[in-house]
Amino acid sequence: MRSQPARLLFAAGVLVALALPPVAGKYYTELLSQALIFGIFAMSLDLLWGYAGVLNFGHAAYFGLGGYLVALLAREVQGFDQSYLGYALAVLLPVVLAGALGYFLFYSHVTGVYFTIITLVVTMIFQLIVSDWYWLGGMNGLLGVPGFALHGPSGLGWEFDSEAQVYYVLLVVSAICYLLCRYIVRSPFGLVMAATKDNQERTEFFGYDTAYLTTIMFMISAGLAGLSGALYAHFSGFVSPPLFGLNFSTDVIVWVAVGGRGTLVGAFVGAVLVNLLKAIISDFLAVLWLLIVGLFFIVTVFFFPDGIVGTLRRTPWRAPRPLPRAASMREGGV
């Protein structure tokens, strides 16, 4: 049960989100649209990091994969105008990659920190390859990805022209993704996942195949990241190697950490706040932005491990969370 203030906060958030485009103007509407896409991406990381306890340090690989895939399809395949197929493939390919990696790593009991390091290297491999292979655009990336649209089978489709339309569509997509994730983490599967995060050995004693479950969670997370990458490619009109990069991978970790790990909503809160802040700060202090990001990593670890949403939920006016979860969140560390 949500407490009264939390409900009010949620309702206020929805109202603000709906009323924004006319008030915010073109620039900020576009900025927020992009932040929504990043929010979906961050939520996909949170699914794995916050609920399975596995930190993917190369999450951008799946985002980039989705983005490059739709970009390549739109540019290279003659008369390709069925964007629904692009989106489907942009989900499928990362899922397959995550499945393969999960098979190679989780089944070898490569978990925790080791897994994190290997994901870090995976994203670097992608960035290397993409910057090097000229038919993937090299360092310049691929330009001219068609604008944001939804084309269904048999000619059914909508084009979205104004930035307000794009914003509302992204808002709906975000809401659907959020509800889907919420359903997943509250399903029996999600509960076993939480148990695995708390204590893998005991969960295995209960007869659950934790390697299998973690791989599934990884695949879901990667698929969602691929979707957000595809959305981004259509939204921004181009893709480039930094989408795969280590910096982008760590940006998304920052968003989740700011918003609050293991909260889902926090991913959106973090993505919106950090990107707004970045737009404001890097306008006049571009040099300082990365310095701030770096210091933020260090400060978070020491003073701010629960993020904004996590801290709010911890405050007295909210009914205490069920005991076992709450205790494990505190002990489990990152």
């Binding site: 995976v122 491999i125 990001v293 260090i298």
Partner: protein
């Protein structure tokens, strides 16, 4: 005859890469094995070594001074990092990971601010060729390998033949037991971290003439040395030798056949596959 010559050159290029990789990875492996700390700023310690040489050049000192000073400077810096950050995060690996990654971003950005964003070069300390079995090879690379082999040998000696090494191995096995036996663990951790950082700094300084020195150069070496450590098997120095040989020679041989970037990617993919079948490393039990 020509074939043999280029093959030998390839092998020697590989050996150069191997010896440097081992030098970097050994620092990483010591810090990880002894303290359980995964230092994502290790690549930045490497470039700090390289930039020490460049700073020496700016101050009109010869590159030799730079190479000699680099381990001292970076070792001291590492000690500061240990006291300021790492000390509070023992046995919390994922949090150390985040904090050291933050540190690496800060270092990179500070280097950009101080030295500029582009590539930097310093005068080459040792030009000229040497004849190896009738073929010519750059003399600096031979020097590079010799220094690496010497430092690696010294490190092994320290670990397996001195009191200091004995204490470190005791801590690696069982921290609580070691501190019960009056080993000052926090001081040992401090010197371990400083030692590991100094090795990375030395490697960076030695590699300055061989690579394009830029603030971003460290990450690349970080990734390779992680694979060296994981492939070799965690917690044993000898494994690092094996891992270094596999990663370095494989990469050099492959880049003979395909583009350098693709070769690097291929090596990392091969490493991931090896980990599936030998999770405890190629040389781990």
């Amino acid at each position: 005859m020509l074939e043999l010559g280029s093959l030998l050159t390839q092998f020697l290029n590989g050996a150069t890469l191997v010896s440097v990789l081992i030098l970097i990875s050994i620092g990483l492996a010591i810090i990880f094995g002894v303290m359980g700390v995964i230092n994502l700023a290790h690549g930045e310690f490497f470039i700090l070594g390289a930039y020490t040489v460049i700073a020496a050049d700016v101050l009109r000192l010869s590159a030799w001074w730079g190479i000699a000073l680099a381990p001292v400077v970076v070792g001291l810096f590492g000690a500061l990092v240990e006291v300021g950050i790492i000390r509070f995060l023992y046995r919390r690996p994922l949090e150390t990971l985040l904090a050291t990654w933050g540190l690496s971003i800060v270092i990179r950005q500070l280097v950009r601010i101080v030295f500029g964003v582009g590539y930097r070069a310093s005068p080459h300390p040792l030009l000229g060729d040497v004849r190896v079995f009738g073929f010519t090879y750059p003399i600096y690379r031979v020097f590079l390998m010799a220094v690496c082999v010497a430092v690696i040998a010294i490190t092994f000696y320290v670990f397996y033949r001195t009191d200091f090494g004995l204490k470190i191995r005791a801590i690696t096995q069982d921290v609580e037991m070691a501190s019960a036996l009056a080993i000052n663990t926090s001081r040992m951790y401090l010197s371990t971290f400083a030692l590991g950082s100094a090795l990375a700094g030395l490697a960076g300084a030695l590699m300055t003439p061989e690579i394009t020195v830029s603030p971003e150069a460290g990450v690349n070496f970080l990734a390779r040395s992680f694979f060296v450590v994981i492939l070799g098997g965690i917690g044993q120095l000898a494994g690092v030798l094996g891992g270094g040989i596999v990663v370095g020679e494989l990469e050099t041989l492959l880049s003979y056949l395909i583009s350098a970037t693709t070769a690097q990617a291929a090596v990392l993919v091969i490493a991931i596959i090896i980990i599936r079948f030998r999770p405890r490393g190629l040389f781990g039990g």
